[in-house]
Amino acid sequence: MSDLTRLTPGVAVLLQGNQALARGALEAGVALAAAYPGNPSSEILESLADSASSAGFHAEWSANEKVALESAAAVSFAGVRGLASMKQNGVNVCLDFIHNLAISGCRGGLVLVTCDDPSGVSSTNEEDARFVARLADLPLIEPATPAQCLALMKYAFELSEAIGQLVVLRSLSRLSHTRAAVTPGALPAGRPRPHWDPADPAQRWATLPVVPRHRVMKQKLQQAGQLMAQAGLNQYQGPERPELVIVASGSSVLYAREAIGLVDAAARVGLLSLAGTWPLPAEILAQRLANAGAVLFAEEIDPFIETEVKAWAAQQGGALAGLSFHGKADGSLPEVGELTPGLVAAALADSLGSPWRSVEAGYLERARATVETLAPVREVGFCPGCPHRASFWAIKQALAVDGRQGIVSGDIGCYTMGHRPTGFQRVNSVHCMGSGLGVASGLGQLKPQGFDQPVVAVVGDSTFYHAGLPALVNARWNQSDYLLIILDNSATAMTGFQPHPGTGLTASGQAGQAVELEKVCQALGLAVEVADPYDLEATQAAIYNAVRQGGLKVLILRRVCALVQGRRGGHPFKMRIDPAKCRGESCGCNRFCSRVFRCPGLYYDEKAGRAAIDEVVCVGCGVCRQICPAGAILAEGEGEAAA
């Protein structure tokens, strides 16, 4: 990322949606920005962290999203502006605080950015986080372009400050990561000094008494609706009496615009682009739908607007009574997966009864078949040299020897892929951040009832700090019986190597105070052992001994992420296959090294009839030399200190 304070006001630049959001926060004079990394949101905080020193505010990676939002809310209580950004899962982590914050209200502008991930491209779900606006009566803003990201971020702060309430801004993968021309505005000359007047009854940020404050919360939403209508966030384009109006938000606005062109229906179809979606913009909806014959809703993930508009329209009666509605509910658009211009165009054409298709019949099937013949199969997998591959190998081997059908409760990070072949399918359940420890905590109580399978929880270092710690405290308290394996690769690797409490570095790359895994666990009174996953035999023995002994134990498998190691000068070995030792198909192992171990740096050379190292891909970690029964995998540079 880069220092966004260096942009010149009035001069257009190409910015990613997330960068535009960050620049908007800078122009709004944000005093504290906090986040937990997670695609597709990470670049917002990264950009702000790179700009924090220049702009003179605080930016941090927080231990989790809830802490991030609480920190942002705190500065709002003190009268300055706060921002918390996260992916959709993070909103769930914050939910308890959000519902109480919505009642207490706030003072300085306070914005929560959720970046939702249609199709779950880099997520474990494709949740629509807009639900939080409906649940907690919070204003919801949905930009469609990077330029809108900048402008609406500034507006969100203003709106928040105007009504004394948290404002939710929703981005999407497609918007957060797309680049477009954005013209930055001016940065503020200064920002107010934070101060919280304890004597001011209006600055008592609490939820009690609930009922009157709940009433105020409702009033704030109503006020927000009025202000958003005045701000002209929502625009209509098209004929005055259209056959159909597309109601769209977010990146679907662009898809809808493109779809109207593709179907050549500009004269028949209007587009109502909604950027302020909650509370429902009733005025413009009433105005534009009254003259339409049908409505097609285009929005990502859930039919949020669609459902609310239909409920609202049912109450209106009159001119809206005869409207026909199309969208996800009637199957015009798919309920799951990301939308595309083609999908919206097809839905539009169907709704209009127009013959249109993006491609000729059977094209997709033919294209798929062709690609299958041309492209090699590529499975989702750990990187070459990834310590997680070695860790799951050791877990697999140790639990197999133990022989009691051990269960592995997984968590969120690169190692989530442990449930796939790359992790030898050794993860038996995975849900959300920290839940692996909680699930293990429950399983670890079943022994007296005859559950004789050993239980292992696997969690990454960053995730451990995020949400694992309370579950471990619970397990210790209630004397649960499981082995916690912390895969410490010294980074929040899956989201882009952000630092975490264990690394001791802050978001700006400055030295913070490291929170050491061992000391945290030892402080709970737990036995802690540390092993290097690259040493397969020692790691297997450590896991085996721990599960045989039973009881709540912690094993830290420590080895820096292979990609991080690559940036630090790489791994020590140059791997090669000894052609005299590799037995090829006569080995009897049926390509054990490439077929089972599955490191991308190791493959079977059909022509040569033996294993081979892909020198472009192999990073030289040396782990694979431990698995060949013939000792045919050689590590040149052996004896040099491993990094």
Binding site: K396, V401, G403, F424, Q540, A541, G588, C589, N590, C628
Partner: protein, 362 residues
């Protein structure tokens, strides 16, 4: 002594690892002889247990072919083949027997230091000294007390491995690993009846020419073998300091397992030990390691002596040399003892064969 074997699921088509798992590993009938280990990375051994973490994807393999616990060819067929191949007198209860005597070692450093009469250690050391074999594979206690195969090349190595702890040690894994090396010298093995049968399968396997290097098998009498982990749990419960240096089943009516520990002797009642017997041992019909070149066991009622059965020409040659050098002294096997031995062997045979039939019919 062992509990009835678990029900075996219907075997998958073909052979190889999948079938080994279905027939032997998954039902818990593996006795950790080690025949399948050391030839393929899909099978691993740790702490007395064999496991196959991954599917190998092949429909045939030596792992199944060599396993004495596999359903096919079965102990009866194997025994018939041995009877046809052997030119020694055939004892219905004990297999091929050229000589049957009581014996004990004469070397001062063996008396009282190794188990029973010290004959096994004497013969193993002599085989190395004669160059009959260049390496002997024995079973010894590892650093953590778990038995493991050990490759030794001299008398000191043999003495270091003296004594038994009656737990599975997968000694044939070391044989396979030795066979995979670049060495060409003959190998010897000291092993249990299951291992002697595994060794015979190794030597006869058409796709294992290197196994012809295995020239000598000294078999051990065996009535049972123990699951190390279950034994450890029993001993933990009994407050026994581990590791165990040696374990003996003194002849009846002792009714105990006698443990030699760093701190002295300790006896555990047999009733406590029975639950730790490997389930797969119930399938074994062989008391005296019939497939070995010589077999050695404790001499009933004669402390400090061994019963020795000389079976093959190779065994006879080694035995003759031991006698000629005065390394062992012998006395005739008393008729009464011989009767007890035959009875015990016959009883074990019947139990094992019956268990095998039940296994095939489930």
């Amino acid at each position: 002594m062992a509990s009835s074997p678990a029900v075996a699921p219907a075997p998958p088509p073909g052979g190889g690892l999948a079938r080994l798992r279905a027939e032997v590993l998954d039902p818990g009938l593996c006795v950790a002889c080690g025949a399948c280990l050391g030839i393929c990375p899909h099978l691993i051994f740790h702490d007395g247990r064999v496991a196959a973490p991954d599917a190998c994807g092949l429909d045939s393999g030596r792992c199944l072919d060599l396993c004495p616990q596999a359903i096919a060819p079965g102990p009866e067929a194997r025994r018939q083949e041995l009877a046809q191949a052997s030119d020694a007198p055939w004892w219905p209860e004990l297999g091929p027997v050229r000589q049957a005597v009581w014996a004990r070692a004469t070397a001062a450093d063996l008396v009282g230091q190794v188990q029973y009469g010290g004959v096994v250690s004497t013969l193993a050391a002599l085989a190395l000294e004669l160059g009959l074999v260049g390496e002997m594979v024995l079973t010894q206690a590892g650093l953590d007390g778990a038995p493991e195969g050990a490759r030794v090349t001299d008398r000191a190595g043999v003495l270091a491995a003296g004594g038994s702890i009656y737990a599975a040690g997968a000694g044939l894994m070391q044989v396979n690993q030795a066979l995979a090396s670049d060495e060409s010298h003959p190998l010897g093995l000291v092993g249990l009846p299951c291992q002697a049968w595994g060794a015979r399968a190794l030597r006869a396997h058409p796709n294992y020419p290197a196994a012809r290097r295995l020239q000598l098998v000294i078999g051990l009498f065996c009535t049972l073998n123990l699951d190390l982990r279950r034994l450890r749990a029993v001993l933990d419960q009994a407050g026994v300091d581990q590791p165990i240096l040696r374990a003996d089943f003194p002849p009846p009516p002792a009714g105990v397992l006698e443990l030699t520990l760093p701190g002295g002797l300790r006896q555990i009642p047999l009733d406590d030990i029975r639950p730790t017997v490997l389930a797969g041992c119930a399938l074994c019909p062989d008391l005296s390691a019939e497939a070995a070149d010589l077999s050695v066991g404790a001499a009933e009622g004669q402390a400090g002596w061994n019963t020795v059965l000389v079976r093959s020409a190779v065994g006879e040659k080694l035995w003759a040399e031991a006698l000629a050098r005065g390394l062992v002294e012998i006395q005739p096997l008393p008729e009464e003892t011989r009767g007890h031995l035959l009875g015990a062997a016959q009883a074990k045979r019947q139990r094992g064969l019956m268990a095998g039939k039940e296994r095939r019919h489930v």
